[in-house]
């Protein structure tokens, strides 16, 4: 146990170190002056600050190593530079948009799990029968649908044609909710504004379409993974042994089937995390959801290299921490698991 924890901590630290090196290198790879990209300030402004004897650690003569040291110390003190375009501190911008993305993906993932797992079980238990074929064809359709097209169609139908749901954003402009955690629903519940119910309803109405566009694709992925895993489990020998002992189908499922089928699902789900994030980023752009995905894509359009550098680092650190902790959790809970398993959906 301790051994595994130590190994993973080690791995995480090394990976984060490599990521920081890569991020530092990006400043040299992007077009423009490295110091401008790292700080987001123009060279003249930096020199002006230096002349005013403000100690900003600007040392153009220092070697790459000392530059990296300064870069890291600034990163850890929360000073991530400012955006080329807006001039706002990047740390605050990222800390506002990252929760919005996490919120959207979390709701989508929850809905997909609630729908996908039971449907996967139903399909597997009725293997090679009508429900299985129906669900499987539904899953092929959902899994092949381009998420941006789906989002556009949903907008066309539900926002423009019927006018039931709002087109974009997180909240109507008439409401003003103070930003505390960055998670809109939590913010609303924590705040003490009038008409809390109306605001909450409005936020939920804004959430429906983006969540649905991500959830449809993710649900089908989960359905396929679950179905495959359950079928494989039900074909294994200990299930036959359970039947041979005279247990009913229900008993076999509850005592042996479900738990063993769920074990291989989680690592496969974790492998789909990048897909979920990619879809979330695309959907954010379409619905003008103020998350990290649309923020990064805006930064690309505006060639805001300081923002791209900081945003990349934040997102990749988040992804690495998330995947590695899930991996570690799996290693700790499943003794059979020796190595990272890879499978297909």
């Amino acid at each position: 146990m301790l051994n595994i924890l130590l190994r993973y901590t080690n791995l995480i630290i090394i990976t984060l170190f490599i990521l920081s090196l890569l991020s530092f290198a990006l400043a040299y790879l992007f077009p423009g002056d490295p110091i401008e990209i790292m700080t987001g300030l123009k060279l003249e402004e930096l020199q002006k600050l230096q002349n005013q004897s403000v100690n900003i650690g600007y040392d153009p003569e220092g070697g790459v190593l000392s530059q990296y040291g300064h870069y890291m110390s600034e990163l850890f003190s929360g000073n991530w530079g400012v955006s080329f375009n807006s001039g706002q501190p990047l740390y605050e911008e990222i800390m506002q948009s990252l929760p919005a993305s996490i919120e959207l993906s979390a709701y989508a993932l929850t809905i997909s799990l609630i729908l996908g797992l039971p449907l996967g079980f139903i399909a597997a238990l009725r293997h090679h029968k009508l429900p299985d074929y129906t669900l499987l064809s539904f899953s092929v359709v959902g899994y092949s649908i381009p998420v941006f097209w789906l989002a556009l169609i949903l907008i066309l139908v539900f926002s423009l044609h019927f006018g039931w749901l709002p087109l974009s954003g997180r909240l109507s402009l008439i409401f003003d909710v103070p930003n505390k955690t960055g998670f809109i629903l939590i913010d609303i519940l924590m705040s003490d504004i009038d008409n809390k119910h109306a605001v909450l309803l409005d936020a939920l109405r804004h959430l429906i379409l983006p969540t649905l566009s991500i959830a449809i694709v993710t649900t089908t992925l989960i359905l396929r993974i679950t179905r495959r895993s359950v079928i494989e489990t039900l074909n294994s020998e200990f299930i036959q042994a359970a039947y041979a002992r005279g247990l009913t189908t229900r008993q076999v499922l509850v005592r042996h089937g479900i738990r063993n089928a769920l074990i291989p699902i989680l690592p496969l789900l974790a492998m789909q995390f990048p897909t979920l994030l990619t879809n979330a980023m695309i959907v954010e752009t379409i619905f003008s959801w103020p998350g990290i995905g649309s923020w990064l894509i805006q930064a690309i359009y505006q060639q805001d290299y300081s923002a791209i550098q900081a945003g990349m680092l934040a997102v990749s650190v988040f992804v690495v921490l998330f995947t590695m902790s899930i991996d570690m959790l799996l290693r700790l809970t499943d003794p059979k698991r020796k190595k990272v398993e890879r499978g297909t959906i």
Binding site: T15, S137, S144, P146, L152
Partner: protein, 297 residues
């Protein structure tokens, strides 16, 4: 089909024939295959099929509805867009671009991935574990992030977005190859070849590679669907193919401007894209179950 057999000899189909026989039994998969062949034909013979030049602008025929609409005409079967360009031609050229490029990318990723996977599978120790960790970290990063970095360094454009997708596709081929090579290396036919004095390269090329073909084809179909979705997504976000080009994702993003008054501008390119991915996925699924059922014989 039961056929009268004059001779008493038993026929043993080759593994490839078995796969085909199994595949044929699955009617949906056959439908997908027909669709896929259709897309390949479009990719190859696109200039012959398209009625107009995809960039020809007819200022007199702006936003003509498709022919099944009451106001539509027969000249433009799928209607025209905001600049009076024929949508059928644009969709056909778009299919060619998206599908052709995706196939190229998959083939490239397959070659590189199988090469690296072979090295990782045949070698032990540091080299293989270094490769594993690097690939795992690449695989954990969403394609769109890789694309954003590459595009930020090199600038937007179709070719730059292609690099990003290749980079994202390679790891799965490496894993597949490495796992396969590992499991085959312990089998006896490989041992026999090794006892005959075959070198590592010969072992891989003569003994292992021929057995890997079908699994690789299956993996390639999966990669193809991912590649199609990714390249069109980047085109849609204006990070890949740029505006006048008729790549399907770029077509969709151009259609947004007139989406409300002319919904066929996004419905038809998206539908073509959807059909393409569905057919690739159905063929991949069919192949996978055919391979699995073949082993049951």
């Amino acid at each position: 089909m039961a056929r009268f057999n004059l001779y008493q000899e038993e026929q043993h189909p080759s593994p490839l024939q078995y796969t085909w026989l199994e595949f044929q039994k699955n009617h949906i998969a056959m439908g997908g295959l027909v669709c896929l062949v259709l897309f390949i034909l479009i990719t190859v013979f696109c200039p012959l099929l398209a009625p107009f030049d995809p960039n020809l602008q007819k200022t007199g025929n702006i936003l003509v509805p498709p022919s099944w609409d009451a106001n539509g005409g027969i000249t433009h079967i799928f209607g025209t867009d905001g600049l009076g360009r024929d949508i059928l031609s644009r969709v056909l050229y778009g299919c060619r671009m998206t599908f052709g490029i995706s196939i190229l990318l998959v083939v490239f990723a397959l070659l590189v991935g199988v090469g690296l996977g072979a090295i990782a599978g045949m070698s032990k120790g540091f080299r293989s574990s270094f490769l594993n960790h690097t690939l795992d970290s690449i695989q954990a990063i969403p394609t769109i992030l890789i694309a954003i970095i590459i595009i930020a360094i090199l600038g937007t454009g179709l070719v730059n977005s292609m690099w990003a997708i290749v980079l994202a596709l390679i790891p799965q081929f490496v894993h597949q190859t490495r796992d396969f090579v590992r499991s085959e290396l312990s089998k006896e036919y490989v041992m026999a070849a090794r006892l005959d004095g075959a070198s590592k390269i010969q072992l891989f090329a003569r003994s292992i590679l021929p057995n890997m073909g079908e699994t690789l084809v299956m993996q390639a179909t999966l990669a193809l669907s991912i590649s199609i979705l990714d390249i069109s997504a980047l085109g849609f976000l204006n990070l890949g193919a740029q505006a006048p080009s008729s790549e399907l994702g770029a077509l969709l993003s151009q259609g947004i401007e007139v989406a409300y008054i002319a919904p066929w501008n996004i419905a038809l390119p998206g539908g073509a894209l959807f059909l393409m991915v569905v057919s690739v996925n159905i063929v991949g699924d069919g192949l996978r179950s055919a391979l699995k059922n073949r082993l049951l014989h």
